[in-house]
């Protein structure tokens, strides 16, 4: 028996994995809303990344005398209070917001998955202690922690990624732990263990890939949440440093000036909402596709 198992385990995983993903892909393609959301998202990313190449303005060139004006043939989105082109600022802002969303999610993914998987796999006292830590961290208000984090370590964009990621890994850890807890009873884990595969290798090579479905789903839903949190930080004046801007900063400026210059809110606000919208739709679609049972 021992001789066949090492071969069998990966094979088993392989087969199950492929069919799972293939099935999911098929289901996802059938979900028109999700496909549309993905297309919109792709369009927005392209707009933000490649857009500035086609706009003859820089994001920080001011024209104080010109000031804030509504859309025109020269400035499609109009200009902001400093007379800067809002179109190009919205594109750059999008880059930052998307980058914050992705990077912070990646951070939270890394911490959350590693943490949850280890806790779930080793179980017992290790699990109890690790999860108690998570419980405690849950009770800390995230804004409070992020503010002091940014105050302590300075205000660079990288730190913004880390700070936002570092406060949003808790739920991810719980999900992964739950998955690993139920998966580790599976035969292929027993088999791998019997074959002498080291614990950490089992966790990261066998268990985590099998829990990938919920992880992907939750990560997709984390991106819009983190983007909203960044917007909130910007509203408090703690986000990115000028002359750079994120959608959050543009939107909070816009909300303040809505009475006089509605275009300052409308354009970045529309893009931000559309992006969050698509991300949520895509997340829902993925969830339906990967795990039809956990439809919520």
């Amino acid at each position: 028996m021992t001789s066949t198992v090492p071969v069998a385990a990966p094979e088993l995983e392989e087969i199950e994995g492929t069919s799972l993903w293939r099935d999911a892909w098929r289901r996802l393609k059938k979900n028109r809303m999700a496909v549309a959301a993905a297309a919109v998202l792709g369009g927005i990313v392209l707009f933000c990344v490649a857009g500035p190449l086609f706009v003859p303005y820089s994001f920080d060139e001011q024209n104080l005398e010109y000031g804030a004006r509504g859309p025109s043939a020269e400035h499609w989105f109009g200009t902001d209070l400093h007379g800067r082109d809002l179109l190009v600022r919205t594109m750059y802002g999008g880059r930052i917001s998307l980058a914050v969303g992705l990077a912070a999610t990646l951070v939270s993914l890394t911490i959350g998955v590693a943490y949850g998987a280890i806790a779930g796999y080793f179980g017992g006292r290790v699990d109890a202690i690790m999860m108690r830590v998570v419980d405690v961290l849950y009770t800390l208000p995230f804004m409070f922690v992020v503010i002091l984090f940014l105050v302590l370590f300075g205000r660079s964009i990288v730190l913004l990624f880390v700070a936002l990621g570092a406060v949003s890994w808790l739920t991810m850890a719980r999900i992964v732990r739950g998955q690993v807890l139920s998966l580790k009873q599976s035969e292929f884990v027993d088999a791998a263990r019997a074959a002498g595969v080291r614990d950490l290798a089992i966790v990261f090579r066998h268990l985590v890939p099998n829990a990938l479905g919920p992880i992907v789903v939750y990560a997709t839903l984390t991106v819009p949440r983190v983007m909203l949190e960044e917007a909130f930080l910007s509203y408090l004046g703690l986000g990115v440093q000028p002359p750079m801007a994120s959608w959050g900063l543009l939107v909070s400026d816009g909300a303040n000036n809505m009475m006089l210059h509605p275009h300052l809110l409308i354009f970045p606000g529309l893009l931000l909402t559309l992006t969050l919208f698509s991300l949520n739709f895509l997340g829902d679609g993925l969830r339906d596709a990967l795990d039809p049972r956990m439809r919520t």
Binding site: F144, I147, G254, M259, G269
Partner: protein, 342 residues
């Protein structure tokens, strides 16, 4: 079950101690003190202030940095500290420990201590004044969230994959996707400055509480709608519903009497953390609508380095969250026969 509840309540205290310690350390290591101001006070006066608020401890100074007591200017003190960094650090840690002990002693007596920024007031007063308001606002928001969310979720589930479903779910996603610092001003612009239906801010009468409640509740309404829909769809597939239908019960009764109970479980388990999140979620709403709650202190007190006030709101928030979770678990146990208390 009583043993379960008792054990959980006892378990709250060590968590609170950790939260207390963690927030104390965070507040103390953050640069900038509560008494740094644009018009600097003379160093001697600042010293008096720091002694009074336990930011300085004569015993620690005498023990680790005796030279400090003759120092009369901030530049001198800086130079001295730079000259002996280790002694300076030891003195700081020592002072911090004294302050920690002092505050912990206060907490044991149910006293959050004096506010570092608002010199006439104790932190207890801020909590006492702000908590009821935040609770009212929170309850209002939850009411909105449940009212709108449950109906939308039910409708969506009943008309699954038809247009009312799509409409409700798009509205829900919109609720999640619009930051409340945008929603608030937009609502004010339309409903109070435009239509003159509601006052634009303040917390006086029923008409004042409507817009802030709606603003705060909208995101939660969206979540509740999605959870209700999901929960209902899950339940509807189960056997006992099929049985009920097979028995020829009218669809309305099937949904309301049988499916709803099970379908609401996810909503109930969501409500615990959500209620607590309302505390911190109300920061923006309190600001925009001039609501005298305590949510604002999560940000303001941290920024002002009002150590005692900041720690108090963090600890109160933790208590609230832990209790809310406990209540949810108990309610879940009553609603769902599958749950067993360990």
């Amino acid at each position: 079950m009583i043993r379960f509840v008792l054990r959980r309540i006892l378990g709250i205290f060590p968590i609170l101690l950790v939260v207390f310690t963690f927030s104390f350390v965070l507040m103390r290591v953050a640069p900038g003190g509560p008494f740094d101001a644009e018009k600097p006070v003379p160093p001697e006066v600042k010293r008096n202030l720091e002694l009074r608020y336990r930011m300085r401890e004569p015993w620690c100074e005498a023990r680790f940095l005796p030279a400090l007591q003759g120092v009369r200017s901030p530049d001198e003190e800086r130079a001295l500290r730079r000259a002996s960094p280790w002694a300076s650090r030891a003195e700081r840690v020592c002072t911090g420990l004294f302050q920690y002990g002092w505050m912990l002693g206060n907490y044991v007596r149910g006293d959050f201590g004096p506010s570092y920024k608002y010199k006439d007031r104790s932190v207890n007063e801020f909590i006492r004044a702000g908590m009821p308001v935040t609770l009212q606002l929170g309850l209002l928001a939850v009411t909105f969230a449940l009212g709108i969310g449950l109906v939308a979720g039910l409708v969506a589930a009943v008309y699954q994959n038809r247009w009312p479903d799509h409409l409700a779910m798009i509205a829900a996603l919109l609720g999640i996707s619009v930051p409340n610092f945008v929603l608030g001003p937009v609502l004010i612009l339309v409903f109070s400055l435009g239509l003159l239906w509601f006052p634009p801010a303040r917390w006086e009468s029923l008409s004042h509480v409507f817009l802030p409640g709606l603003t705060l509740g909208s995101a939660y309404a969206a979540y509740v709608a999605r959870l209700t829909r999901g929960g209902m769809l899950e339940v509807v597939r189960q056997d006992f519903i099929r049985t009920a239908r097979a028995k020829g019960l009218p669809e309305r009764l099937v949904i309301l009497r049988h499916a709803l109970r099970g379908g609401l479980l996810p909503v109930v388990s969501y409500l615990g953390p959500a209620m607590a999140a309302l505390f911190t979620g109300s920061i923006v709403v309190e600001r925009i609508f001039n609501v005298p709650g305590m949510g604002r202190y999560f940000v303001d007190a941290a920024i002002n380095r009002d150590i005692t006030l900041a720690m108090a709101v963090v600890v109160v928030n933790a208590v609230f969250l832990l209790v809310a979770n406990l209540v949810v678990d108990v309610v879940l146990g009553i609603l769902d026969p599958r749950v067993r208390y360990e």
